[in-house]
């Protein structure tokens, strides 16, 4: 029997592209790069995009604190872009939106936006609009665990955990301990291929 994706839960039937150890290293490396580029961490704020950008931002903050033990923890916020998106009806029947929680006034701060997967760039466009509604940051940088290509907007990440070239009909899913029970990044094959296999087994 070949289970159909979506039936078995997130990440099932995918090809593993990052193991838990890979994810750990990637987060550590991005944390180092953030420290390097932002010598003075006093006015840095990490803002995770819901859902999985939030635990990633927390991990980055923890890693930064570990390297720079003299300094306090970099503040972490959670951004919901649901009310800024231009693509909901096509994507999901249930638009799930939650409050945005920023730990501090972002005016004049250097904001590092954190997301799990960067693809078309449309979510990031929405996130920039959402952030700027809260104030005028000195700068906004972008950190993503996975960049899978297929950009439709002129958006470029500042920190990338791993570049994973994919076909546009494939899906990249990031699983995190905090939300999914384990750390792993998988590429889910195109749905049509899977259907073909299910068909073949009948």
């Amino acid at each position: 029997m070949f289970p159909v994706p979506g039936v078995g839960g997130r990440g099932m039937n995918g090809r593993t592209v990052l193991t838990a150890e890979d994810v750990r290293r990637a987060v550590g490396r991005i944390a180092h790069e953030i420290v390097e580029r932002n010598r003075n961490l006093d006015d840095v704020v990490l803002v995770g995009m819901r859902t999985r950008g939030v635990p990633l931002a927390s991990r980055l903050a923890a890693a930064i604190q570990e390297f720079e033990s003299a300094q306090g923890r970099v503040p972490v916020g959670a951004l919901d872009i649901g009310l800024y998106r231009d693509d909901i009806p096509a994507m999901e029947l249930r638009p799930q939106i939650r409050p945005t929680e920023l730990p501090t006034d972002i005016h004049g701060k250097r904001v590092v936006l954190v997301d799990d997967v960067l693809c078309t760039g449309r979510s990031i466009r929405a996130a920039l609009d959402a952030l700027i509604d809260f104030g005028r940051p000195a700068s906004i940088q972008l950190a993503v665990l996975v960049d899978r290509g297929h950009r439709e907007l002129p958006i470029r990440p500042d920190y990338v955990g791993k570049n994973i070239p994919t076909a546009s009909n494939e899906d990249v899913q990031v699983l995190l301990e905090e939300t999914d029970g384990r750390d792993e990044v998988v590429v889910i094959p195109a749905l049509s291929e899977v259907e073909g296999q299910v068909e073949g087994e009948r």
Partner: protein, 336 residues
């Protein structure tokens, strides 16, 4: 499929299979499921965050046109819908029947067809006749929100009351909610009854027998015909009703009820059914006091109680805008 799905973090997996929002209209709460109410409540949380911002405005419904069509006087409901629509970036057209072509004899159907033709996507309608929004919803492409129809339903008021109760009490299962006053003529009470029943609250209605809905018996005996309302505890004695209450909701007493002979006098009503400090002492300490407004202070509720720390009356108004944002957003973003 023989394979048992192995999913770590069952709670999250459960979240992802929650049913979708497929509702095109919000006409009453009698057909709302618990998950649908949960979706509205959760979305309202996000809308409250937006309303708390320095500039409470998001572009979620930019380019959409929302029409409020009110055949009855209203300040708070109409203003609340207008604020909600504007906070979501929608364009709003307010039509009051008193200064529209309705005065020239245009029918309800022609009026809403015209509003649709000028490009409205969502219609918020208040009408004196029970059922009018249903009639409209069947015959237009727009999403229809009932802003109050006759004695029948006021679903967004029901939702904002549920939201207010939940934000203070959490899960409403088993919570004792007492609704006092003119239940018979109250669309607010009816929508609350349905919502509270779906969320599993213990509902008590308290009113003089003349202000109970037809068929609802004060002695607890079953009605002759099936009642088109969920099961409730009926009390005519306010002190007994308030015993152990978690929520005390007083309804507006419409003064025209006196004229129609349902009540002997305002003074007698106030003496027997006014929520005051002395009576409130029978409820649970810190019980939530609510009123859908506008209040007749000194009639159904004493000024002291209305302004006490237990009163959530102002909060109801604030939550009203957030709940209506949630409803408009969900309708506009739902399946076309």
């Amino acid at each position: 499929m023989s394979e048992e799905p192995t999913v770590a973090g069952g709670a999250i997996a459960a979240l992802e299979v929650q049913p979708a929002w497929e509702r095109r209209h919000v006409l009453d709460l009698d057909d709302f499921t618990r998950p649908e109410i949960e979706i509205v409540m959760e979305t309202t949380d996000a809308m409250k965050e937006v309303l708390g911002r320095e500039v409470p405005r998001v572009p979620a419904l930019r380019g959409k046109t929302i029409v409020t069509l009110f055949y009855e006087a209203s300040t708070r409901t109409r203003a609340s819908f207008e604020l909600a629509a504007k906070a979501l970036g929608a364009d709003v057209i307010n039509v009051a029947a008193s200064d529209s072509s309705v005065q020239k004899g245009e029918s309800l159907y022609d009026t809403v067809r015209t509003l649709q033709a000028v490009g409205a996507q969502i219609l918020v309608i208040r009408h004196g006749s029970s059922g009018a929004p249903y009639l409209v919803a069947r015959r237009v492409e727009m999403n229809v929100v009932n802003g109050g129809d006759g004695w029948h339903a006021h679903p967004t008021q029901g939702l904002l009351d549920l939201y207010t109760m939940r934000s203070h009490l959490g899960d409403l299962r088993g919570k004792r909610v007492v609704i006092i006053g003119d239940i018979a003529h109250s669309r607010v009470a009816r929508s609350n009854l349905w919502g509270l029943a779906t969320l599993g609250a213990e509902i008590v209605v308290c009113a003089p027998p003349t202000l109970l809905p037809y068929g609802m018996r004060p002695d607890g005996s079953p009605p002759e015909e099936p009642l088109a309302l969920p099961p409730v505890i009926v009390e005519t004695d306010l002190d007994r009703a308030l015993e152990g209450a978690d929520v005390v909701m007083a309804l507006r007493l419409q003064l025209e009820r006196m004229a129609s002979g349902l009540l002997p006098s305002l003074r007698e009503y106030a003496r027997l059914y006014q929520v005051n400090e002395e009576r409130l002492a029978r409820a649970r300490p810190g019980a939530l006091v609510m009123h859908p407004g506008p209040m007749n202070e000194g009639v159904e509720i004493s000024s002291a109680v209305a302004r006490s720390l237990q009163s959530a009356i102002e909060e109801q108004v604030t939550n009203g805008v957030a709940v209506r944002m949630a409803v408009l957003y969900l309708l506009a973003r739902g399946k076309p």
